[in-house]
Each structure stands twice: as structure tokens, then as C-alpha cells.
Symmetry: C2
């Protein structure tokens, strides 16, 4: 059962319920968590509801569910995971509050100090790129970037089934010595781990490929791309922005001439499939990596389809055995490089 | 006359000469700078050559033209500008060496300590976004971000003819308090300048609109977007990478079915115009903003068309009177906020 916060997100609870219905039909077990009074008459037959009276609003502090609203839905979903009544928690609500609850209620995996947010971006070569941190930790020291590398590596192995993930450090150039201060220091630490691995296989298990630029990462040069939460957030939102601008420009150019309009009509199928592959609703959200449970934070603007994607994303992590594998792999590696 | 380094770039001198020919035909006055011996027989009638025997290779240190090769073409182009024999300098060679030469030979505009690299990115609303720094200064203190804001503002006024440019600070959220340490500090400084301007118009002339996320910037929320060179480089290369991935996905989807292939054939005109608008060759390069002269650093992989774009970009800055306007506007504003 995946615990879904019915009152998180700009379009809650309608879009959240509709998303739960879609995912439920696709075989994802879902339980809606929220004020049962307010949900009455809105939840179709077959979906269960766990009552949790309070709701955290977007303009409240991230600590609200921990301090002032212990009975809020955004907190309850993580308690259900902690108590073994749910396998994963999904919310499209207040992301700061979600991260605070996940960390406080579920606790970090041993060795992890500040869990990052991770997601998966499609690469040009058809593969998938794990990108982290997406914004959970804005200012990061080198040691934290190393943690992200180990967590991203474990995710790629467990969920994406990449045998020996190539881990890169996001930088403004491929050469050693490129990057800001933190990146340069993280390079040294990760390089030492990779050297140790080459000398004594099994030591760190990390296949560090050095600095990687965004273009090269998107072309397929690595499987895991590590950066601080500020840079990762900028990168992810730049991808979203560029897709929007590109779609707009292309549409303008297609509509410029009559014959192109005819072609566009013929093309509509390809166009729809293109939007399906590039809209980031399909990824479904960001995973808080390194807590004792599967915790997915969806987009605040999520519609029903995006909510369903987030549920499928969480379900995939559960089926892959992400958390047990994280614990096994991370524990040994984060006890000193 | 724009001084063009004939031996800078992966495809030099052939692509450089071909680019000079294109720009020359379009009315941009160009002089090729490089080893006349090696250029013999390659330069068509009508283009002049200034002899400069040495070439700086990509694997040499950035200080090479200043210390070891004073007669290199990448240094000579800036000397021609300094001596009034050229109006602008363009190179697609070693960008570190180019920046070192520009700064050393031309010198910074009074008040500027570390000139940033700036470029222009198309926005969704049809406008243009000035993005800086693109990588000249990787680690930046808040005061430096303020310098970039003032320089970007002056560029938008002088070259893009924006009357009152909206200057934003690139961040991971719109609210005050978002951003990493430097961004938060720069926010305070820029806000104080904007407040002073509102109270006493003419004080700073800066219309600071606060934090802006990449998606919003690309939608048109600001005219100038300020960030450190690490983040700016990542952002620019993410745009490039995304355009590549999007083009690839769309192509795959178009070729999936026969009827779409027919549509694609009909669409080829729109496709070509789309590539022309999105390929970053069209922007032509990055401008080193805040030195006493127009200095454009083109892409190392530039082909003839990209070289021609870089020349037009530089020519546009000259025609707009960029440097005199920069001096007038920046001097007064950077003497204490």
C-alpha cells in the first residue's frame, strides 16, 4: 500500500484522487490519507481512506507538521510507512514539510547525514540519468557530495539495474581542477575512493568517472550526476524551461506556412508521443534518498496524470527493494572512504 | 574593423576564414590575424591579413600569450583594439587565454574587478535574456554578483535597447531567503540598490526584481539573469544538452511511422528554421563584459556559420556603442552601492 497525501498540491484533493484512481487501475495499491470528512463522497468505491484531520498549507513553515499539526496528512503518510502499514509515502504538498517529516519520522539510513532529492532524466542515448541533489541541501561541503555519489550509485543499481554505474561530478569542464571549491574537493575524495576500489575491488564499489558537463551527461557519459542542491535545482528547472521554449519555437515555425500546418496535422501523433516523453510529469517527482522508507515528493502543480506517475515511481522503488539495498550498500561505504 | 583570430578553434584556420568571408559579404568589416605564411593562398581576395606568427594551443596554460608567446594571434587581436586599429576582437581559441589577454591588454572598465562572460538566450515570450557569468569567475562573492548585475543591466540598455531592464538573481526559488549563501547576500545588496533607486531615482538605476528561477526567466520574467560562473556555465550547457535531447526524441517519434515520415518531409522547412533559432551557433559566443573594448569568445567547435555569428555579435556591440555606454553607466554605479 502506498500512502498518498490527499491534501498536498495546488489541485488537491480532486487531482490527487483522480491520480490515485488512475494508478489503482494500473495495479498500484494506494491508500488516500486526509480528512475523511472533506473526502466524503469524492472517493470512488475500491479506494480506502485513512483519516488524518489536518492539512499543512504552502505558506506555513516546514516545521508545522512536526510542531503544530501532528495530525496532518503530510506527516501521517510517513508514520504509516514507519509503522509498516504502508510501503511508501507520496505527497505533492509542501516539499520542505515533506522532507522534514520524512527525516524526522523515518530517520536517515545509517551513515547518511542530509538526504538529497533525486530524480531521473532521459538521456539522448536512450538511457536514464540519476540527478541529485535537486534542492534538499543548498550549500554542500565536499563530504556531502560524496554521500550523494554513494546514494545515487545505490539507487542506479537497485532501481535502474545498472550493474556498475558511472558516477560523475557536475562541473563546468571535464578536466581535473575545473569546478568550484566544493567540487574540486569532492573530486579528490571521490578519486581516492575510485582508486581504492581499483586496487582492492569491493572497497567502495564506486566507479567515479570524474567531472562531467551537462551536455555530456545528457549524451550518456554517466549514469549518476552529483551536484549541490542549488545547482541541481537550477539544472532541472533549466531542462523544463528549455523544453517549453523549444516546443514554443517549433510550434511557431510549424504554423508559419499552410503546408506546414498540414504537415503538423499529420504529425500530431509524433508530437503527442514527444510531449509524453519530455513532460516531466512522467518522471513523477523527486525521491528523498537515504531515509528509512520510500518517500516521493511530487510537483506542487501536479495533475492527475502526474500524481499517477509519482505513485508508479514510488511503487517501482518498493518493488526494486530500494531501501534494504540502500542500507546494505550505503552502510559499508559511508563508514570512512 | 573587427580583428579575428585566424588560428583559434578546432577547425582553424579553414572554418575561421570561411566565417570571415560570410560576415564580410554581410557587411561586417573583418581583418584576419595570424601567421601570414600559413594563411597564404587560403584567404580570398578582399580580406586583409595582419601577420602574427605564433599560435596558442588548447593544452597550453592561459598565461602563454602573455608570458611565452607575445606574438600570438590571440593576443594580437586585443592589441589592435587597444591601439585603435580594430573596433572589436573575436577568437574561437583558448578561452582562458583570451580572457587573460583581454583583461591584460585592454584593462577593465573603472570599477570592475573581474569581468564576466555574458551571452543572450532566446526567451519563450520572444524577448532576449542576458545571462552572466558564463564561466569567467567560478567562485563569486556577493559583491561580484552585484558587479555582474550592473554590467548586465548596462549591456541590455546599450545593445538590446531595453529601457529599464529587469534584473534577476538566479535561484532555486522566488522567495527572499532562497539561494545559496552568496545569492542571499547578493539579494540584500541588490535590494538596497533598488530601494535607493526608488527613493532617489538615478542613484543606481537598477530595477532588481529579486530571485528568478530558470523556467520563469526563460518565460520572460526578467531581462538580465545574474549568477556565478559555475552555475551559469551549467545552465548554458544544460540548455544546449536539452535542445539536443529534445531534437533527438522528436526525430525518433517522427520516424516511427510512415505517415509521420511523410509529414516530416513536408515539415523540413519548419525544422530548418527551428534549428536556426535554437542552435547556439546563432548567438555566436560570449562577450567579456567590463573590459575596455568589445571582446567576443566564440565556441571552440565553431564552424563557418558560427564564426560569422560571432563576428556579427561583436559588430552589433560596436555599432551600439557598448563600451562608451558601459563606462558611463558602470563607473557611477559601481562606486559604492
Amino acid at each position: 500500500m502506498i500512502a498518498l497525501d490527499a491534501f498536498g498540491g495546488d489541485r488537491a484533493p480532486e487531482a490527487i484522487i483522480a491520480g490515485a484512481v488512475i494508478a489503482h487501475r494500473q495495479g498500484v495499491p494506494v491508500v488516500l490519507v486526509g480528512n475523511a470528512e472533506k473526502l466524503r463522497g469524492k472517493v470512488p468505491h475500491g479506494l480506502t481512506v485513512v483519516h488524518s484531520p489536518d492539512t499543512v498549507e504552502m505558506d506555513e513553515p516546514a516545521s508545522t507538521p512536526l510542531r503544530k499539526k501532528p495530525e496532518s496528512s503530510i506527516r501521517r503518510i510517513f508514520e504509516l510507512v514507519r509503522d509498516g502499514q504502508a510501503t511508501a509515502a507520496v505527497t505533492c504538498g509542501h516539499s520542505g514539510a515533506a522532507m522534514a517529516c520524512a527525516l524526522h519520522v523515518l530517520g536517515p539510513v545509517s551513515g547518511v547525514t542530509r538526504p538529497p532529492l533525486a530524480t531521473v532524466v532521459p538521456r539522448k542515448d536512450g538511457g536514464q540519468l540519476v540527478l541529485l541533489d535537486l534542492g534538499a541541501n543548498v550549500d554542500c561541503k565536499a563530504e556531502l557530495l560524496v554521500q550523494f555519489a554513494v546514494l545515487g550509485d545505490a539507487y542506479a543499481r537497485a532501481v535502474l539495474r545498472v550493474e556498475r554505474p558511472r558516477v560523475g561530478l557536475l562541473a563546468n569542464g571535464e578536466e581535473r581542477g575545473k569546478g568550484n571549491e566544493q567540487v574540486k574537493q569532492a573530486w579528490d575524495l571521490l578519486d581516492a575512493m575510485a582508486l581504492a576500489e581499483r586496487a582492492h575491488p569491493g572497497t567502495s564499489g564506486l566507479h567515479f568517472v570524474g567531472n562531467v558537463e551537462p551536455l555530456e551527461a545528457m549524451r550518456g557519459e554517466c549514469d549518476v550526476l552529483v551536484c549541490d542542491g542549488f545547482v541541481g535545482n537550477v539544472m532541472l528547472k533549466t531542462v523544463e524551461g528549455t523544453v517549453e521554449v523549444v516546443a514554443r519555437i517549433l510550434k511557431e515555425e510549424i504554423l508559419r506556412r499552410g503546408s506546414d500546418r498540414f504537415a503538423a496535422w499529420l504529425l500530431s501523433g509524433a508530437w503527442r508521443r514527444f510531449r509524453q516523453r519530455t513532460t516531466y510529469d512522467n518522471v513523477g517527482g523527486a525521491l528523498l534518498l537515504g531515509v528509512n522508507g520510500v518517500a516521493v515528493v511530487g510537483h506542487g502543480r501536479a495533475d492527475a496524470r502526474a500524481v499517477a506517475s509519482a505513485l508508479r515511481f514510488a511503487h517501482g522503488c518498493v518493488l526494486a527493494g530500494l531501501v534494504p539495498q540502500l542500507k546494505a550498500q550505503v552502510g559499508s561505504r559511508l563508514v570512512k572512504p
